[in-house]
């Protein structure tokens, strides 16, 4: 039995007559202890997916799904009070900007204890010693002194560690990390990723890593979901997708990275821009920017097609033998 099963999850904003689909038909299945990365450019709906899983989409946003279950409990039919007990306990989330997500008016000890107070009982002394243990777990130096510090007294990397401590306080089974290292420097990012993967292994958590950085996903995740304009373009195992992408978008995205263009003066590019929510094209959302687009792509939205270990939403999936370097995209 999978830990998380999602079928056809959609999030819509805007009026009923002219809905804006921020997320359009996400299928995702996660096992206990699995690391899944969601990558995509801005506006691809990756953060919306994380928020929908947490149940943080408010009116006027509308969340619909054919099925959305966590540990065999239906998240959609669940009353809000029950959802509230899940949130922060079994499903936890960390956000991109640690300084914006911590409350500047309270000490970090208070904010960490709050999570524990809500989800479990305990005396003040017990809570404080648990908080201290958590800070040590996320490798904050001089944890005793940092307990009563305020967020502005800590660096960005330290604040992100506090966020992580808060998220794992109640031993969640699923941790959603939305761009956890984007605001950090590379050296601190490497520390943070090592800590995150270490804790994930040690506790057997499932980790849903949302990021725009393909390098981070390649290093940390087992499986990857590539999103574009609210839709999943491709999902599959990390080595397969990075070695031999089947979707033209994944291939073009990889081909536009400087890492795949070593020694070449010009980078391969994807022509055009990511369409905004108001101007999603008919048919396949990628077709105006895709070099392989045919007549059918302009009219018909492709359904995700199953491959061994992969799901690809394209009328003309690429041959497995075509690597990202031997691509034929228009420059």
């Amino acid at each position: 039995m999978a830990l998380l099963e999602i079928e056809n999850l959609s999030v819509m904003f805007g009026s009923a007559s002219r809905p804006l689909r921020a997320l359009d038909g996400l299928d995702l299945c996660m096992e206990q202890g699995e690391v899944v990365g969601i990558v995509g450019e801005s506006g691809s709906g990756k953060s919306t997916a994380g928020l929908a899983l947490m149940g943080l989409i408010d009116y006027p946003g509308r969340v619909t799904a054919r099925r959305m279950s966590f540990a065999d409990r239906d998240l959609l039919m669940m009353p809000e009070s029950e959802r509230q007990t899940l949130r922060g306990k079994d499903i936890a989330m960390i956000f991109q900007d640690p300084l914006a997500s911590l409350n500047p008016c309270f000490s970090i000890a208070y904010q960490l204890e709050e999570t524990l107070r809500v989800h479990q009982a305990g005396t003040r002394a017990e809570l404080r010693s648990q908080t201290l243990a958590l800070l040590r777990l996320v490798e904050i130096p001089d944890a005793e002194q940092r307990l009563d510090a305020y967020p502005h007294q800590l660096s960005g990397g330290m604040c992100q560690r506090v966020m992580l401590a808060m998220a794992i306080a109640c031993n969640p089974r699923l941790l959603i990390a939305d761009e956890p290292t984007t605001a950090l420097d590379v050296t601190v990012q490497a520390q943070m990723l090592e800590l995150l993967t270490g804790l994930q292994k040690q506790r057997g958590m499932a980790l849903l890593l949302i990021t725009h950085d393909l390098g981070v996903v390649a290093q940390v995740a087992h499986r990857v979901v590539v999103m574009y304009a609210g839709q999943v373009m491709e999902q599959g195992r990390v080595p397969d997708i990075f070695d031999a992408p089947r979707h033209p978008y994944t291939q073009a995205l990889l081909a536009s990275l400087p890492e795949y263009n070593v020694g070449r003066k010009r980078l391969a590019t994807i022509p055009g821009n990511v369409p905004s929510q108001h101007e999603r094209p008919q048919g396949c959302v990628l077709h105006p920017r895709c070099s392989n687009a045919q007549e059918i792509c302009r009219t018909l939205v492709p359904d995700p097609a199953e491959f061994p270990n992969a799901l690809v939403r394209c009328h003309f999936p690429l041959d497995k033998t075509v690597g990202p370097c031997k691509q034929n995209l228009t420059a």
Binding site: E41, S42, P141, S155, G157, M158, D185, V186, T187, V188, Q189, A190, Q191, L193, E194, T197, H212, D213, L214, G215, V216, A218, Q219, V220, F242, A252, L253, L254, S256, L257, P258, E259, Y260, N261, V262, K265, R266, L267, A268, T269, I270, N273, V274, S276, A331
Partner: protein
């Protein structure tokens, strides 16, 4: 001091450039001084790209502002086109300022939302040249075409463009006065991967067609590896290593450069690889460790490292600031 570039084509020459800011410590304490840039020297020739890399707070943006003459250095001197900036006459400055233009990180913030593209591109020409209205419009339209935008974009407002297009407008604005040096301060950091590739290509095309030199500031090492000729690694306001790009990326010498490269997420290697990880964070620039600024994070630290600041020295034809470089290389 660096590299044997022919002095006739040297465009920028910085010699022991430093910028110090006073930082208030409270009502009754005297302000502390923060060295954002400390003793930075380099030469940049026309048509070349010098990349500056380092973590946030290492002084790379301050260096950009010094070179763009937005701020005067506290000490040291800066020569642009063989003219010493702090002693230059008004007429010399008037000639030199258009030669150096800047492109900023966030194209959503660097374009005035109340001005049309027309006004944005027109302003530098109206102030600095004697062209009439029609000639200015013609130049502006030609520039739009050059950066890959259409003529119809000329009368639009910045909010009507996407991030990549806005960055093109910012680049077009920088190019209006036919500069020789573009200071690009994290110019592609805010862009999506596919758009970043387009803008990087534009930068490289313009370098070829206009013979531009770039001072390219970035924290993204993959981008730097692609675009730079020479790389300068900064740490707490100082240069720790400076060399040709191939040297820095293939065989880094300074322990900080090594750590920086090892921290870079790679697409090929699986994560918990053997890496020289740094365990601490960047110390406060107000209170740097004694001696070598990197000593508190360095895996090769010896007591001698805290005694004296290592000078930037020539080691195997490259410039490295590490007192133990001969032992650890």
């Amino acid at each position: 001091m660096i590299m044997e570039t022919n002095s006739s084509q040297v465009l920028v020459e910085a010699n022991r450039l430093a910028k110090q800011y006073p930082v208030a410590q409270g009502w009754f304490k005297p302000p502390a001084s923060l060295y954002a840039v400390d003793g930075v020297s380099f030469r940049l020739a026309a048509g070349r790209t010098l990349a500056v890399v380092g973590e946030s707070g290492c002084g790379k943006s301050t260096l950009a502002r010094l070179v763009a003459m937005l701020e005067p250095p506290s000490s040291g001197d800066l020569k642009i086109d063989n003219i010493q900036i702090d002693q230059a006459s008004r007429s010399d400055l008037k000639r030199i300022r258009p030669m150096v233009q800047m492109v900023f990180q966030n194209p959503y913030a660097s374009l005035n939302p109340r001005k049309k593209v027309a006004a944005i591109l027109d302003e530098p020409l109206a102030i600095n040249t004697k062209l009439n209205k029609f000639e200015r419009k013609e130049t502006g339209l030609a520039m739009l075409a050059k950066v890959g935008l259409q003529a119809e974009h000329y009368s639009r407002y910045p909010h009507m463009f996407s991030g990549g297009q806005r960055q093109r407008i910012a680049i077009a604005r920088a190019l209006m006065l036919d500069p020789k040096l573009i200071v690009a301060d994290e110019a592609v950091s805010a862009l999506d991967v596919s758009i970043q590739a387009q803008v990087l290509n534009l930068f490289m095309d313009l370098q070829e067609s206009n013979g531009l030199a770039y001072l390219f500031i970035s924290h993204n090492l993959a981008v730097v590896e692609h675009i730079a000729d020479e790389v300068m690694v900064m740490y707490l306001g100082k240069i720790v290593e400076q060399a040709a790009k191939r040297h820095v990326f293939d065989e880094p010498l300074h322990p900080y450069t090594k750590a920086l490269l090892a921290s870079m997420p790679r697409l090929t290697a699986k994560f918990p690889q053997k890496r020289s990880m740094l365990h601490e964070e960047l110390p406060s620039p107000l209170n740097p460790p004694p001696g070598c600024p990197f000593s508190n994070r360095c895996p090769h630290k010896k007591d001698a490292c805290s005694a004296a600041k290592p000078a930037l020295q020539d080691f195997q034809g490259r410039w490295v600031a590490c007192s133990r470089i001969a032992e650890i290389a």
